[in-house]
Amino acid sequence: MKHRSIKVVTAAVAVTVLTGGLLAGCTTAEGEEGGKQTLRVTLANHVWTDIVKDKISDFEADHEGVTVEVTQLGEDQLSDQYNVKLNAGTDEIDVMMYRPLQEGKLFAQNGYLADLSDYVTRDAAWDWNDFQEGPVEATTYEGSVVGVPIITEQQVLYYRTDVLEKLGIAVPKTLDELEAAAKQIKEQGEIAGYVGRTGVSAAVTQWSSFLFSEGGDFANKDYTKATLDTPAAKEAYELYGRLIGQYGPANVSTDMSWPDAAALFAQGQVAFYSDASSLYQNLALEENSTVWDKVGYAPFPAGPAGSVPYNVPSWALGINNDSNKKDLAFDFVEWLTSPELTLEVQEAGVPAARTSVWDNPAGTASFPPQLAEAIAIGAKTGVGYDRPRVISVAEAREIVGAPIVVAITGGDVDAAIKKAQADFQAFLDDEND
């Protein structure tokens, strides 16, 4: 009997311990304890993040008991995190860095982003009106402000000053001149003429300036009719394809995003590269580039419709709608986007979304003068988007980008455009349903 009891007690203890252990594993971590608060911030890998991260201790010093916990991830990993956590209704993210044009509409429609309309007007000194109109439009959803833009980008043309000088080529002002120059350089046989992003999805944003400058667009104004088969769009597809497929590096990969394309330019393999202005430090800093002292900057070359590059807010800060620390979270956003810190960030080379920092000579002093000029021109003539303005942007980009890859690899562009037009029309019909 006694022996049996020992067995039963042992069994009961084992069951309790195992079950208890499981339950303990299922409990959530507490965010607050004894007046102390932890603000959970998710940021993308970006020069902006590297700069502000070092200053977060100042915010913590000003807010007693507050600890800021930063999670830093690459673009794709960041999207996946949001997809999983916000879908599950987590309150473990308070402040989130997101891409207004890529996922802004989707997040806002899903109710992931808190309405900041009342917050942004509460402090006149912080001055919401100082933020540029285009970026603000991209962080507004159905009349409500859902994000504060932090970084802007314009497409510019990077070129090798030494190569152009050696071959006696003038800096291209038009797309025709760019093609002729790229052809001439490629035919010299030493280096390739032009490189840009080639991945089906990644290329769409950098191809958009070609599309706009040729006079085209992704769709009509209210996005009910796809316009990928217009003569302007066709010319943009074919030109982009020729520039990389015929005058680009041999055996060019069709999976390149900006790190791969920028690396080819930075390693002296190509003479022209067109991409976002915010990437210039990857080409112009000695530690990143073998041609850092031979980089020239020009506004995006003009097509039949003029020079019409994109001028977009690439990143913004939002607040998780399920966060239970929205006030503190906005204090942090306000601090991060204050005129002073914004100026500091722009002085370090990251194009910001506040008008005042662009008007301030100190704000543009750190940029190479040619680049500052190219950005200023792009900001004036550019359009406020670089990808289709739809909810499911990732899917739309794959449809729009398919003919780009076909053009680069020398395939049947007409057939690819026909298919893309039909697919994009079906996509728009489905989304407008």
Binding site: R4, S5, K7, V8, A11, A12, A14, V15, L18, T19, L22, D76, S79, D80, N83, L86, N87, A88, G89, L106, Q109, N110, G111, Y112, T198, G199, V200, S201, P249, A250, N251, V252, S253, T254, D255, S257, D260, A263, L264, Q267, Q269, I391, S392, A394, E395, E398, G401, A402, V405, T409
Partner: protein, 307 residues
């Protein structure tokens, strides 16, 4: 009073008797319940989602649409069936080469020789590397313009190849990476099988005048067959599930032409890129059924071979 005490004693006695009789179940129950929930809940939830039009946000209202997703997916010749083909090609191709190479290396390492320990360690090195790191490493090596692979070919006057960048060459290149990484595991399993074999049948065949090939084909291979089937099963399921090196080298969508998009990569894209949770779940359920089918076939084969 005494009746109550008596009842309690009786209840305790009957409970302890029951617990003692079923103690193996009582002790294992919490873990079994946990594992069952861990498998059953996601499976049930995926099955449920596959019958709905869930998209955008999983928390948004969605409708029950029956088998519509299944009809859509099974009639999709643009992405789904090519993905099935690539999954089968990758799995079978990589597995066959791994099994042959693995058997060859295991046979070489079977008999003791000088420096055996060192050779075994070197052969096992790829196995301990993280797949994503392996993917990134090979991506740099196979970069068509500045990568080492084309540099290496140029030393022998061989023209540069597109490797991972080419529509036709990307999947075979990734199969090569998979073979490089996972052949050691096959070697390890087969070596364990070979070392457990008795020398007598082999010696008997030798005495009878059988040559090396005859001894391998008619004696060693049939004896090591159960281990071989286990290795095929393990490696086959693993290759079927491959995601990390495909994603690390070609990203979402399996490349610009979806050239390495297997079912895993496709389901991931549907869910994380397109936010089409219903359709993505359908692909996963079909994939799950395919895996079950493969395991069933291999298990039957193993039972037959062990009889």
């Amino acid at each position: 009073m005494s009746t109550t005490t008596g009842t309690r004693v009786r209840t305790q006695t009957s409970f302890s008797l029951w617990a003692n009789r079923h103690r193996k179940w009582v002790l294992a129950a919490p873990a079994m319940v946990f594992v069952a929930l861990l498998i059953a809940f996601p499976l049930g939830w995926t099955l449920y989602l596959s019958l709905t039009d869930a998209s955008g946000s999983i928390r948004a209202p969605h409708d029950f649409i029956g088998l519509e997703n299944y009809f859509d997916v099974l009639s999709d010749t643009d992405r789904f069936w090519p993905a099935v083909g690539r999954t089968a090609f990758f799995t079978v191709g990589a597995m066959v080469v791994e099994m042959i190479l693995g058997m060859l290396i295991a046979l070489l390492l079977w008999r003791p020789f000088r420096g055996q320990g060192l050779v075994r360690i070197i052969i096992l090195l790829p196995l301990v590397a993280t797949p994503v790191a392996v993917g990134m490493m090979w991506r740099l090596i196979f970069e068509p313009t500045i990568g080492f692979a084309n540099q290496f070919l140029s030393w022998f006057g061989i023209p540069a190849q597109p490797w991972l960048a080419g529509e036709a060459t990307a999947l075979p290149t990734l199969m090569f990476v998979d073979i490089w990484q996972w052949t050691p595991m096959v070697v390890l399993i087969l070596l364990a099988g070979l070392t457990s074999l008795s020398d007598e049948p082999d010696e008997a065949a030798r005495v009878d005048g059988a040559n090396a090939w005859q001894r391998f084909w008619h004696v060693t291979f049939p004896l090591v067959m159960p281990t071989f089937i286990t290795a095929v099963l393990l490696r086959g399921i693993d290759a079927l599930k491959t995601f990390d090196i495909l994603y690390a080298t070609k990203g979402k969508g399996g490349g610009s032409f979806h050239e390495v998009e297997t079912l895993n990569v496709y389901a991931y894209g549907l869910s994380f890129d397109y936010q089409k949770y219903g359709e993505s779940s359908t692909v996963l359920v079909i994939f799950f059924l395919m895996i079950i089918g493969c395991i069933w076939l291999l298990t039957i084969r193993r039972k037959k071979s062990s009889l």
